[in-house]
């Protein structure tokens, strides 16, 4: 087990006459035993970053260190990492036992008895000892995933790399496996880099999440930091489901002017806004939109176009001006499509972004997770 440092990582691919920069100057530090989730939309460079760490791609610039040692230029086997792939990548012609022992046979001098003993220990831990003599096609998706995880664990690596390992499972199994994976990682204490495009996985699984877009690292931090204090509009929109609402507004004096409403800002917020900046984007999370009485200050009217009852909450699709926005209200609030409602949001929960650069001008207060809970 060791800490992993990625320093100025650049990966370029040649494409025709030009080049594509898949990963652009990414710096990430992962503490020994931490769980880092690399998240971003398709094509953002997260899988390429993972493959660079694994040694499956040669890097163009930068350094990758495991502990104090650079592993750049080493063969994948010599990096002492294990990888779990999206499609499990189990060898179809081998049994689960052969799949799990293949790496030990190829890369170590262990005797057959020692390999068998290690495989059986891990199989017991993963609850797959009855499946060892079966071939992958005889296993369900979840069982194949366990064998793939077992294959990674049995090698006792310094780092686990996981490339969207749950994306082929159905929704229910994915939730179960998510918890199991977290427990397993905590039990083994192995540094883990986990790639996903699913922000729910990112939020729920990682000690830290790193958000990538267009090959560039946007933000790295704890899930709640990234949720409450996004550094830019991209992170704000990517993290959280349903996504944050963005209103195009202009600053006129002390109020934000939108086509459908005016929103007065407090002097404290105005202090953060550059004097020359007038075009802003106001960001409000769906759960921060409240239904209020029409006499409430800073409130405005909206027409409900669609309701999506989720049980504990209901997502409302609201027509405000000529665009659609989302609000999340408690499940017991009864609202029907075409209803006219009055909504507002509290200023402390809003985010403001520079409309030109997307940079965050003002974020909501971050709720510290270390707040002590009285039992």
């Amino acid at each position: 087990m060791a800490a992993l440092d990625i320093d100025g990582l650049v990966k370029r691919f040649s494409a025709g006459d030009g080049e594509i920069v898949a990963v652009d100057d990414v710096d990430i530090s992962i503490e020994d035993g931490d769980f880092l989730v690399l998240v971003g939309p398709s094509g953002c460079g997260k899988s390429t970053t993972l493959r660079c760490i694994a040694g499956l791609e040669e890097i163009s610039e930068g350094d990758i260190r495991l502990g104090d040692t650079s592993i750049v230029g080493r063969k994948p086997m010599d990096r002492n990492i294990a990888m779990v792939f999206q499609n499990y990548a189990l060898y179809p012609h081998m049994t689960a036992r052969e799949n799990m022992s293949f790496g030990l046979k190829m890369g170590t001098d262990l005797s057959k008895a020692e390999i068998d003993s290690k495989v059986e220990d891990v199989a017991r831990m993963m609850g797959i000892e009855d499946l060892l003599e079966k071939k992958p096609r005889a296993l369900s998706g979840g069982q194949q995933q366990r064998v793939a995880l077992g294959r990674a664990i049995v090698r006792d690596p310094d780092v686990f790399l996981m490339d969207e390992p749950l994306s082929n499972l159905d929704a229910k199994l994915r939730t179960t496996m998510r918890t199991e994976l977290q427990n397993l990682q905590q039990e083994l204490g192995v540094t883990t880099v986990y790639v996903t495009h699913d922000q729910t996985e990112a939020m729920t699984m990682g000690d830290q999440i790193a958000i990538l877009n267009d090959g560039k690292l946007q933000q790295i931090g704890t899930p709640l930091e990234c949720y409450h204090q996004p550094v830019n509009q991209f992170v704000a929109g990517f993290i959280g489901a349903p996504s944050m609402n963005f209103f195009d507004v202009t600053l006129d004096g002390d109020s934000l002017e939108h086509d459908a409403f005016s929103y007065r800002l407090s002097p404290e917020t105005l202090e953060n806004v550059d004097d020359e900046t007038t075009r802003l984007t106001l960001g409000v999370r769906p759960e921060d939109i409240e239904i209020v009485d029409e006499r409430e200050p800073n409130s405005f009217r909206a027409i409900v176009s669609v309701t999506e009852p989720m049980g504990s909450s209901t997502h409302l699709s609201l027509a405000i001006g000529d665009r659609q926005y989302t609000a999340t209200v408690p499940g017991d609030v009864l609202i029907a499509p075409d209803d006219q409602i009055t909504v507002t949001f509290s200023e402390e929960n809003t985010h403001l972004f520079d409309a030109e650069t997307g940079r965050a001008v003002k974020n909501r207060e971050h709720v510290r997770p270390d707040t002590e809970v009285q039992v």
Binding site: S14, R51, A54, G55, L56, K75, P76, M77, I81, A82, M83, F85, Q86, N87, A89, Y91, P92, H93, F102, G103, M106, G107, K135, P136, R137, R155
Partner: protein, 316 residues
């Protein structure tokens, strides 16, 4: 008068209606739809097959094909007792085995090289594919003639010229028995490797990249990755490829006829050529028919393996 015309038209309409009904009835029957194919197969495949079998149990000769009698299995007994037949069988076995092995190995090397080139975006992989494929589409008779020119046993032969330039002596590629068989095998391999390459290259595309990546992370060397991951996954394609090229090679006739004519002596006379010479040089249609039937049995056996494998194909 008008009544007479009306009646005639009514009759015509009734006949037309009956014809139309008959035609639509017959269209309902599957026989109608397989008739063209059945006719084609019957005339051009089944009839010659039956005729060859019938000939094989007669003593028919080409000198007077109408004057013959049925000798039943005597022709087969004579063939199997003839040392010539076993000599030809031995030549055929060597020719087929060596050709199949070399085509497989050559095809695999080329397929891997092209796969490597395509994956790394190297130039020339399309050119290589076209070059190799062109050998496959050239008719066998032309290949025989081209190789005959290449192997001319004087300083003017292309290969002998190169050997002389390198300081060697002229090699008897076609007049020495063993060298002639070797030359025939090389020429046939040159032609047939393209087919194996196409099959195996297609097979390689089916091996998921993630498996190769997983094997790299597991610490397998390139050879171990090929031996333990790629090769087992290519097994179905490899097997079908072996069966198909074995069938093609057993039936090779045109290229050898043009290259060596079966010589020197009978050193390169494979069964297909033996059959041809029996029929059109020694005029023994009965014997030729019997050899054709023996070859047919071997081919049917290979085809049965092929079909059995295709039907029960195991995808792990």
């Amino acid at each position: 008068m008008a009544t007479e015309t009306d009646r005639r038209w009514t009759n015509v309409a009734a006949v037309r209606s009956r014809a139309s009904r008959w035609f639509s009835d017959i269209q309902e029957h599957p026989f109608f739809w397989i008739l063209p194919a059945a006719l084609f197969l019957g005339v051009f495949l089944l009839y010659p097959l039956v005729e060859a079998f019938r000939m094989s149990v007669t003593n028919m000769t080409l000198l007077d094909p109408t004057d013959y009698s049925y000798v039943w299995l005597d022709t087969y007994v004579r063939i199997f007792e003839s040392p010539d037949f076993w000599g030809m069988t031995r030549v055929t076995l060597i020719f087929v085995t060596a050709s199949v092995v070399l085509q497989l190995v050559g095809g695999m090397i080329l397929a891997q090289a092209i796969d490597y080139g395509v994956n790394r975006g190297l130039h020339g992989s399309i050119f290589t594919r076209i070059s190799v494929l062109s050998a496959w589409v050239i008719p066998g008779i032309v290949i025989g003639i081209v190789w005959k020119i290449m192997l001319i046993e004087t300083r003017y032969g292309v290969i002998n010229y190169i050997i002389l330039q390198l300081g060697g002596d002229v090699v008897s590629f076609l007049s020495d028995g063993q060298m002639a068989l070797l030359s025939t095998i090389v020429a046939n391999t040159w032609r047939g490797t393209a087919f194996s390459m196409i099959m195996l290259y297609a097979g390689l595309q089916q091996v998921p990249d993630q498996l190769k990546d997983a094997a790299r992370i597991d610490g397998a060397s390139p050879w171990q990755r090929f031996r333990h991951v790629t090769l087992p996954l290519l097994k179905p394609v490899l097997f079908i490829n072996i069966v198909l090229i074995t069938i093609y090679t057993i039936n090779t006739f045109d290229m050898i006829l043009a290259l060596t004519g079966g010589g020197p002596g009978r050193a390169t006379e494979v069964l297909a050529l033996y059959m041809y010479f029996e029929a059109f040089e020694r005029f023994n249609l009965g014997t030729a028919g019997a050899i054709a039937v023996v070859m047919l049995v071997v081919n049917v056996f290979m085809t049965m393996i092929y079909i059995k494998y295709l039907l029960g194909e195991d995808e792990f």
